[in-house]
């Protein structure tokens, strides 16, 4: 037992069971909760990531389709242009008509023109008004196309002033006259189709598409006019930071009040990048809801577990407690009372209670044996004490009788002998400890008779006996020594006539026998000393109050008492109190 681990010390079994089980369930539930949530979160964000990537890829593809269709048109024109001699006016006219056809066939293309290399003068166009118009050679679509003949140049989409419609110019340096000369092809396209595509895609609240050039200048944003001050402007400034961080690829960011996933991709045939922002607030919401749900479920599971384990623990411990209660009852009571416990519970506890009952039986048996043995011992002790009375008294009485006979007081001598004989009959005749009060009183009367003769009527005596006490039982031979004590210590050598009053009555359910004298009385210290001598254990050899006290105590235990009340020069009363016992 000394090696019992610290944490088990002085905790109840129920407590330990509940704590252990609840701890296990908590660990289990919490780890399950974490695992579920993590896998859910990974799963759902994976799904959302895939979905958003699909969506943004779709947008990029749409855009690339749009660009590719224009480039295809451009390639067709580049191939077909060799069929026309643009230096010839009718051929140039025919080519312009050819360009018109193409514009007709492609709803997205608004205007196509070819501009000569050295002047940037329009030499053929689908739009007749554009013909012979000369642009400044520094114009971006022209200058950039001249600079690199291998690529198509895409202008920044611009809002057409009259309609507010977005447009974009695509230009390329091309060969004309079967490679004999260079020129610049310009295709003006409507950007509206692309905008419509973006608007149709469900990007969520605040979701949008932004296109940036390699210098991180915004080419286009579906949020609206870039560079606008205010909310949009600050969002765009924030966006540029995000682009610089991602460069290429995707990331989840917080933009404004929204959680967004951003996909940054290149746009084919351009140096631009397209950034698709998709609102994923819903993801956070779903995650939160899921977390709430599983926490709630876990809480319920925990609660049920606690209830269950409390029940189990109680089922185990309550029989143990019952057993403990029974034991405590035994421990608290002054006398041993055989009491069996009847517990139906787990097999172990039932076995325990069975053992307990058997132990109780054993104790009971041992107790009975002890009582019997003690009884025997007490009897022998009592005998010894009773036997002590006789020699003193017998000697004194016989001495008195001798004295009476010597003085020829035969009548009195006879009376004394008769009294003595009666006295002894009570003392000798019965084996029992207790006798009726009547006999005890008779005994004392005989004694007083003897003593009053001996002391030549130097004291009176009186009996005050309540009705109905005569047949009650009392320990025998207890009054006579007290009376003897009164005579020797209270009345002897008293000048005036002494008086002894013997009272027997019932007080508060007890039988009280008292002997009062009107002798010298005692000091309180003397009384205290007397009491002390009563309790000092050893069986006294002297006949006297101590003898009585011990006998009363041995026989009745704590239920009886002996009281001494005294006042100097007034007298002493000694009262013996016994439990009521009828024969």
């Amino acid at each position: 037992m000394s090696k019992k681990p610290k944490f088990l010390k002085s905790h109840s079994v129920g407590g330990i069971i509940i704590t252990a089980c609840v701890a296990i369930v908590v660990v289990l539930v919490v780890s399950l909760l974490l695992a579920t949530f993590t896998s859910f979160k990974t799963g759902i964000s994976g799904a959302v990531n895939t979905q958003t990537r699909e969506l943004s890829t779709q947008i990029v593809f749409n855009y690339e389709n749009y660009i590719n269709s224009i480039i295809e048109t451009s390639n067709i024109i580049q191939t077909d242009i060799d069929r026309y001699d643009l230096t010839d006016e009718t051929d140039a006219q025919a080519f312009s008509e050819y360009l018109q056809e193409i514009v007709h066939l492609n709803s997205g293309i608004l205007q196509i023109g070819v501009y000569n290399y050295d002047q940037c003068r329009c030499i053929a166009s689908s739009n007749a008004y554009e013909l012979d118009f000369t642009y400044d050679k520094s114009v971006a679509w022209y200058a950039e196309a001249i600079a690199d003949p291998t690529v198509h140049v895409f202008s920044v989409p611009y809002s057409e002033s009259s309609t507010g419609e977005y447009r974009m110019n695509i230009s390329k340096r091309i060969k004309i006259q079967n490679g004999a000369a260079s020129a610049v092809l310009k295709i003006e396209t409507s950007f509206q189709q692309f905008i419509a595509l973006v608007e149709k895609s469900n990007l969520g609240d605040g979701g949008h598409v932004t296109i940036i050039d390699p210098n991180y200048d915004i080419v286009y944003s579906s949020l609206g006019f870039y560079g606008t001050v205010g909310a949009t402007g600050s969002v765009i400034a924030e966006e540029i930071g995000i682009f610089k961080d991602i460069v290429l690829g995707s990331k989840n960011v917080v933009l404004g009040d929204h959680n967004m996933t951003v996909n940054v991709d290149t746009l084919s045939n351009t140096k631009w990048r397209i950034c698709v922002f998709i609102n994923i607030d819903r993801l956070a919401e779903i995650e939160w809801n899921f977390l709430l749900t599983i926490i709630l479920v876990s809480g319920v599971v925990l609660f049920i577990a606690v209830l269950l384990f409390t029940g189990v623990a109680r089922a185990i411990t309550s029989p143990i407690k019952k057993l403990e209660l029974a034991m405590r009852k035994v421990e608290k009571s002054d006398y041993f009372r055989m009491e069996e416990v009847d517990i139906s519970a787990s097999r172990e506890v039932e076995a325990l209670s069975l053992r307990f009952n058997k132990m109780m039986h054993k104790i009971n048996e041992l107790m009975e044996r002890v009582i019997t043995e003690q009884d025997a011992q007490r009897k022998s002790e009592l005998k010894a004490l009773q036997n002590q009375i006789n020699p003193h008294f017998l000697y004194n009485t016989l001495d008195s009788i001798v004295w009476l006979i010597e003085n020829k007081k035969n009548e009195e001598a006879e009376e004394m002998v008769v009294a003595l004989a009666r006295l002894f009959r009570i003392g000798i005749s019965k084996e029992t400890e207790v006798i009726p009060v009547r006999e005890e009183l008779e005994h004392v009367r005989n004694y007083l008779l003897i003593q009053s003769i001996r002391y030549a009527d130097s004291f009176d005596y009186e009996f005050r006996v309540d009705d109905g006490v005569l047949e009650l039982e009392t320990l025998k031979l207890i009054l006579q020594p007290v009376v003897e004590n009164s005579i020797y210590h209270g009345l002897k050598n008293k000048i005036d006539k002494g008086r002894i009053t013997i009272t027997v009555h019932i007080v508060d359910g007890y039988l009280e026998l008292s002997v009062a004298d009107n002798g010298y009385g005692m000091r309180q210290q003397t009384i205290d000393k007397l009491y002390e001598s009563f309790k000092d254990g050893a069986v006294s050899n002297s006949v006297g109050l101590k003898n009585i006290y011990q006998r009363v105590m041995i026989y009745y235990g704590g239920d009886a008492e002996m009281r001494i009340e005294s006042e100097l020069d007034e007298g002493t009363t000694i009262t013996i109190r016994e439990p009521l016992n009828k024969k």
Binding site: I24, T57, I71, N75, N178, L248, G249, R273
Partner: protein
């Protein structure tokens, strides 16, 4: 309860330790990732065979095929960067050469050197350190095609000038529009002929996206429109030349009639792929310019070695133009020098 917690902790630590060796192995190996624009491109796949075959043992590599989509290639690049497995080098054959600017920026951000090949980035893309391009000298490939034709047409009364007008009637099978090789080869072959003093007439330029099937269709429309007017076919690569040959053989323009094939029109390609060389041997393809896969692969692997091991670039055996460009010249291959 402390005991339980202690046991749990121990289990977790044990698991964590158990996981470490799985990630830790082969730390000394260098890792290269190859990104190719399209695995079905014969020239690219031949180059990959050469490079992976000559790969040193201490270098592990990975090859990603973008299936001709820049969007896919971007995802592949970002994916490998995000995996954080510490690649030492990316070798990228971009789908769209204009995307190189963004790719360079992304790789420079995470400090991964890049070698582009086959598709030449614009000059403003190769601005970061440790970013290179290895490829054919596009100008010289087109010029050498022209040189072959010049040799054939140089003599008077040559059988190739079928209408005898002294003008070379030609069509061009162009690779992908916007591809710098396609643009340059297309431009240089015609220009070179002119420079050499030939009168040329470009009948048509058809874009066939480098591949054999598209070239077959393109040839059909060209032949239907121009028929035997066509004297010379410049194909930007062997695959397209073979596509044209497929059509011409199928409709009996080229026929062997028991002997060697008649060649009513001269076809020249670029690349000298294995199938291209077979076609030369069979007398179907007049000639090709060796877009030297072997040499380019060697240039890339040597450069990779220099970059990974941080060697002094001044010892690098190939000429580096503008600090970033390595151009490999090509050789003419016809039936005359085929055996060598």
């Amino acid at each position: 309860m402390k005991k339980t917690a202690l046991i749990l902790c121990c289990v977790m630590v044990a698991l964590a330790i158990a996981c470490v060796p799985l990630n830790g192995c082969g730390q000394n190996d260098k890792k290269i990732a190859f990104f190719i624009y399209d695995g079905s491109d014969t020239f690219i796949s031949e180059m990959m065979d050469v490079m992976t075959g000559a790969m040193p043992d201490n270098i592990s590599y990975e090859v990603r095929d973008a299936g001709n989509s820049q969007v896919v290639q971007n995802q592949q690049i970002v994916e490998l960067i995000d995996q954080g497995e510490g690649y030492d080098l990316f070798v990228i054959n971009a789908v769209d050469r204009l995307a190189c600017n963004s790719i360079v920026e992304k790789c420079a951000d995470v400090g991964i050197p890049v070698i582009f090949f086959n598709r030449e980035p614009l000059e403003d893309a190769l601005v970061a350190a440790n970013v290179y391009y290895v490829g054919a000298a596009a100008d010289s490939l087109g010029e050498k095609q022209a040189d072959m034709i010049a040799d054939l047409f140089g003599t008077a009364d040559n059988p190739y000038d079928k209408n005898g007008d002294g003008i070379v009637q030609l069509v061009i099978l162009k690779g992908e529009q916007g591809h710098q090789d396609a643009e340059k080869r297309t431009e240089r072959c015609v220009d070179r002929l002119k420079e050499l003093g030939f009168a040329t007439q470009v009948l048509a330029i058809e874009v066939a996206d480098w591949n054999r099937t598209d070239a077959y269709d393109a040839m059909r429309s060209l032949y239907q429109q121009y028929g035997d007017e066509i004297e010379v076919i410049f194909a930007n690569n062997d695959d397209m030349a073979l596509g044209a040959i497929d059509y011409l053989v199928n409709c009996w323009v080229f026929s062997d009639k028991g002997g060697p094939y008649s060649q009513p029109m001269v076809i020249v390609g670029v690349d000298a792929t294995a199938v291209g060389l077979e076609a030369i041997e069979a007398g179907l393809l007049y000639g090709t310019v060796n877009n030297d896969a072997q040499k380019q692969s060697d240039a890339i692997l040597t450069l990779a070695d220099y970059i990974i091991n941080d060697r002094d670039m001044s010892d690098y055996p190939y000429a580096v133009t503008n600090g970033h460009y390595i151009y490999i010249d090509g050789d003419i291959i016809t039936q005359q020098n085929l055996s060598s």
